[in-house]
C-alpha cells in the first residue's frame, strides 16, 4: 500500500527494489516497461522515484572522499616489514629460554666429557708408569701370570702356586 509522508512519498513495497534498479539503470528492458506502466498509474511510486532521483543528485554533490597520498603503498609496506620483524623477534623471544637452556646443557655436557677424557687419559698414563716401575723393581702382582712364561699345563700352575707359598 502506497502512502505519502508529511514530506515525501513511500513507494509500493513490491516496487521498491525495482525502482532502485531503475534509478541505477540496471533494469532489463521488459522489466523497465512494466515498471514504467505501474508508475504511470501510481502517483506515490512516481513521487518516490522523483524523490530518490533528487537524493542521487544531492548526495553526489559532495563527491568521493579524499584518496590516499602517493606514498601510501610504500608506507603500508614499511609497516608490514616492521610488523614482520616484530613478529619474528617475538617468536624468537618465545623460544629464547629453551634455546639458552639447550646451550647451557650442551656446554655442561662438553665440559663433563672433556673432563672424563682427560681423566681417562691421565689415569692410563699413570697405570702404564706403575707397570713399568713394577717391572724394573721386579715386583708384580703375585697372582698375575707372567706374560713372558705362561704355564704350559695344570701341573705347572700348581707348581707355581706351591713355589709362591714356599716363598712366603
Amino acid at each position: 500500500m502506497a502512502t505519502e509522508t508529511k514530506f515525501g512519498y513511500t513507494a509500493c513495497a513490491k516496487y521498491e527494489a525495482l525502482l532502485e534498479d531503475y534509478l541505477d539503470g540496471a533494469l532489463e528492458l521488459t522489466d523497465a516497461k512494466s515498471a514504467e506502466q505501474h508508475w504511470r498509474d501510481c502517483a506515490n511510486c512516481r513521487g518516490a522515484l522523483e524523490q530518490a532521483a533528487s537524493s542521487v543528485r544531492l548526495l553526489r554533490l559532495a563527491g568521493p572522499s579524499v584518496g590516499p597520498g602517493p606514498a601510501f603503498a610504500r608506507t603500508v609496506m614499511a609497516r608490514i616489514r616492521a610488523a614482520e620483524q616484530e613478529r619474528s623477534s617475538e617468536r624468537a623471544g618465545f623460544w629464547q629460554p629453551l634455546v639458552s637452556l639447550g646451550w647451557r646443557f650442551a656446554a655442561t655436557a662438553t665440559l663433563v666429557l672433556g673432563a672424563l677424557v682427560s681423566y681417562d687419559a691421565g689415569w692410563g698414563r699413570h697405570a702404564q708408569r706403575n707397570l713399568a716401575t713394577a717391572r724394573l723393581t721386579g715386583t708384580s702382582d703375585i697372582f698375575a701370570p707372567d706374560p713372558a712364561n705362561p704355564p704350559a699345563d695344570r701341573d705347572e700352575v700348581l707348581m707355581m702356586v706351591a713355589e709362591t707359598n714356599h716363598g712366603k
Partner: protein, 227 residues
C-alpha cells in the same frame, strides 16, 4: 546507434568494462598467488590497485578523515598477515573489503564512538549555501567548497539510522555498486536495494525539513505539489 536496441547498446558498452574487470580479477588472482609465495612486490601491487577503494570504504564508514589513513593501513596489514589462508574462492577485492568493514567496526568499538556525531544542527548560513548548490545542480568548485558541502551533507546523513547512512554514502558518494555492497555487508542484494531506496526517501525528508525550517523550500515545494 539509433538502430541498436537499448538493451544491446547497454551491453555493448558494458562489454569492454566487464572484460576489463575480468582481466583485473585474473591479474589479482596471480598477484595473490605470488604474495602467498612470499613475493612482497606482488602484495605492494595489490595495495596500489585497491588503496583507492579501501580508502573510500573506510572513509564512507568512519567519516573521520583523520582516522582513515591509519585504519586503511591496518586493513592492508591484516590482509598481508592473512593472505596465506585466503583460498581465492571469493574475489580478492571482496575479501579485502570485508576486512576493511570489520576493521572499521573494531576501530569504532575500541574508540567507543559512533561513526559520526554532530550535536549541532545546520546553521542558517549552511542551509542557504546548500540550497544554492542544489539549485545550481553541479558540484561546488574548489576543495574548500567541496569540503563544506560534504560537511553539510554529513550532518544531514547523521540524522539517519547508521545502516541507511552507510549505504547511501558508499553507493552515492564513494561509488560502490549494489552487488558490492551486498557482498561487503553480507546482505541479500534485494535487501540492499530496498534499504537504499527507503534511505533515499529518508534523506530527502531530512533535507526538506531543514529547508522548510529555514523557509527555503516553502515556495518550491508548493509549486512542485501543484504540478
Amino acid at each position: 546507434m539509433a538502430d541498436v536496441p537499448k538493451s544491446m547498446a547497454a551491453s555493448a558498452q558494458a562489454l569492454p568494462l566487464s572484460l576489463d574487470r575480468k582481466r583485473k580479477k585474473e591479474e589479482d588472482r596471480e598477484l595473490v598467488r605470488l604474495s602467498q609465495d612470499g613475493t612482497e612486490a606482488a602484495f605492494e601491487e595489490l595495495v596500489r590497485r585497491h588503496q583507492q577503494r579501501v580508502f573510500a570504504l573506510v572513509g564512507g564508514i568512519l567519516r573521520r578523515p583523520e582516522d582513515v589513513e591509519d585504519v586503511a593501513q591496518q586493513v592492508f596489514l591484516k590482509a598481508y598477515l592473512g593472505i596465506k589462508r585466503f583460498d581465492q574462492r571469493a574475489a580478492f577485492s571482496t575479501w579485502l573489503y570485508k576486512i576493511a568493514v570489520n576493521e572499521c567496526w573494531d576501530y569504532l568499538r575500541k574508540k567507543k564512538v559512533r561513526p559520526l556525531v554532530y550535536e549541532a544542527d545546520l546553521s542558517e548560513e549552511q542551509v542557504s549555501r546548500l540550497d544554492g548548490i542544489v539549485s545550481a545542480d553541479r558540484p561546488p568548485e574548489g576543495p574548500g567548497a567541496r569540503a563544506e558541502t560534504r560537511e553539510v551533507l554529513d550532518r544531514m546523513l547523521a540524522a539517519l539510522p547508521e545502516q541507511d547512512r552507510q549505504l547511501l554514502v558508499l553507493k552515492e558518494m564513494e561509488g560502490f555498486s549494489v552487488q558490492e555492497l551486498a557482498e561487503i555487508l553480507d546482505l541479500n542484494v534485494n535487501t540492499v536495494k530496498v534499504r537504499l531506496f527507503r534511505a533515499r526517501g529518508r534523506i530527502m525528508d531530512v533535507y526538506r525539513r531543514r529547508m522548510d525550517s529555514s523557509g527555503k523550500l516553502a515556495g518550491s515545494r508548493s509549486t512542485q505539489r501543484k504540478g
